[in-house]
């Protein structure tokens, strides 16, 4: 039997919805595990991405740590895939892009009703937010995109099995969606 493909997955500025959808491939996960093994992923709890064949990234880039993780994935993964609206367009987090970051933080932590004694979190452990939220392809080269918010389990399955079979992945009507 040929060597299993190694896959890493992570969620950056996302909601883990794409990962939940990935689990929606249900029992096909067992068939997939015949072909692949997982590196860094919420499934394994490995903290850093090592050399991989495929990296799957959900969520866009909204803070400095996201940039580090994305670069680590790009360095280690032969094929990098952006999965879901946030990774591909910035998505929901990017809805703040036309607002000033300072006034966003002030509104959320200081001036909202009920926050009289709030303060803007400043623990040095916290990654600094970026001025704007970016889709992945604006920071590193992305090889493939699986759109959807989230893409369905069927779409993810079709895409990955096409790719693993060495075909150009195609979704087609019913599987390709942006919402």
């Amino acid at each position: 039997m040929s060597k299993k493909l190694r896959i890493a997955t992570t969620s950056l500025a996302g909601c883990f919805g794409c990962h939940m959808s990935f689990l929606d491939i249900d029992e096909r996960l067992l068939a997939l595990l015949e072909l692949v093994e997982f590196d860094r992923s919420p499934i394994t709890d490995i903290k850093h991405c090592g050399p991989c064949d495929i990296g799957l990234i959900e969520g866009g880039i909204c803070n400095a740590e996201n940039v580090h993780v994305l670069r680590e994935f790009r360095k280690n993964c032969k094929i990098l895939i952006a999965i879901g609206s946030c990774a591909i367009t910035g998505g929901l987090p990017a809805q703040r892009n036309h607002l000033d970051l300072g006034s966003c933080l002030t509104e959320v932590y200081l001036t909202e009703p009920g926050l009289a004694h709030g303060h803007i979190p400043n623990d040095p452990e916290l990654p600094l937010p970026l001025d704007k939220v970016h889709p992945l392809h604006e920071v590193v080269k992305i090889d493939y995109f699986i759109p959807g918010c989230p893409p369905s389990g069927d779409a993810i399955w079709k895409f990955l099995t096409d790719l693993i079979a060495g075909k150009t992945p195609e979704l087609g009507h019913g599987l390709i969606k942006y919402d």
């Binding site: 367009t89 889709p135 699986i146 919402d179």
Partner: protein
């Protein structure tokens, strides 16, 4: 006998005065389009309908049909160009489909699906375009406008109201509301207006409708836009085809 031209090798009949787009749709051949609407004079701005006529690219919605033309449409070269146009539209506005009430019924989105556009590819501009919620029944979300001018044309030509206009040039071009205040509430637009029905994307929306059609039953959930557009097109009826043939 009606004259014919060739579209991707197929013989397409046309009547004098028809454009390439009209004749193609009427004969059951889909050419992708966005700013073309069967009830309005062609505008020729989106260029999604670009075809090659005798080797030269041109917009098929404005090109008059002529006998003997050799036209290519469904080629990888042209679809790659169309894909890029769709990608630029996505990068230029703010198209966050998951929160758009037009999702599933939107032509831009459906074209993206049909052309297998998986990403906008370009750097997103994220323009700042506040919505106009001033009107009690109608919401205007400028973030999604693709400047097709259909609402402008519908409001002036059909409704006789001239509610909308386009102002500015190039990248600063934008939709405006023709009122002193610039607010929709200060116009006489009404829910029953034609201008309410023509927007191909999610700009002009009736309030209090929301996501009323469940996912799975929306217009382009059922069939891709390439199939839907042919149903919507005024078709050459078999009878009239027969008659023109008789007159020969």
């Amino acid at each position: 006998m009606s004259d014919t031209f060739h579209l991707d090798g197929a013989e397409v009949p046309f009547e004098s005065g028809q454009t390439v787009m009209q004749a193609a749709l009427a004969a059951g051949h889909y050419i992708p389009h966005l700013c073309y609407h069967p009830e309005f004079k062609p505008h020729g701005s989106c260029k999604l309908c670009t075809v090659k006529v005798n080797g030269r690219t041109t917009a098929s919605c404005t090109m008059p049909a002529e006998a003997g033309l050799e036209i290519e449409s469904e080629t990888e070269e042209l679809n790659a160009l169309r894909r890029t146009l769709v990608q630029m539209l996505f990068a230029e506005g703010n198209h966050f489909c998951p929160s758009c009430e037009k999702s599933g019924n939107c032509m831009l989105q459906a074209l993206g699906y049909d052309l297998e556009v998986h990403t906008a590819g370009f750097r997103h501009l994220y323009p700042d375009r506040p919505v106009d919620a001033s009107h009690p029944d109608i919401l205007l979300d400028f973030n999604r406008c693709i400047l097709c001018e259909l609402c402008v044309r519908a409001s002036s030509e059909v409704d006789g109201k001239n509610v909308f206009g386009l102002a500015g040039r190039g990248i600063t071009k934008h939709l405006i509301v023709n009122a002193e205040s610039g607010q929709l509430a200060d116009t006489d637009i009404a829910l029953a207006d034609k201008a309410m029905q023509v927007c191909p994307v999610g700009v002009i929306l009736p309030k209090r409708v929301g996501f009323s059609i469940p996912i799975g039953s929306r217009r382009y959930d059922e069939r891709p836009i390439s199939a839907q557009a042919l149903d919507d097109a005024p078709r050459q009826s078999a009878a009239s085809g027969g008659c023109t043939a008789c007159e020969e």
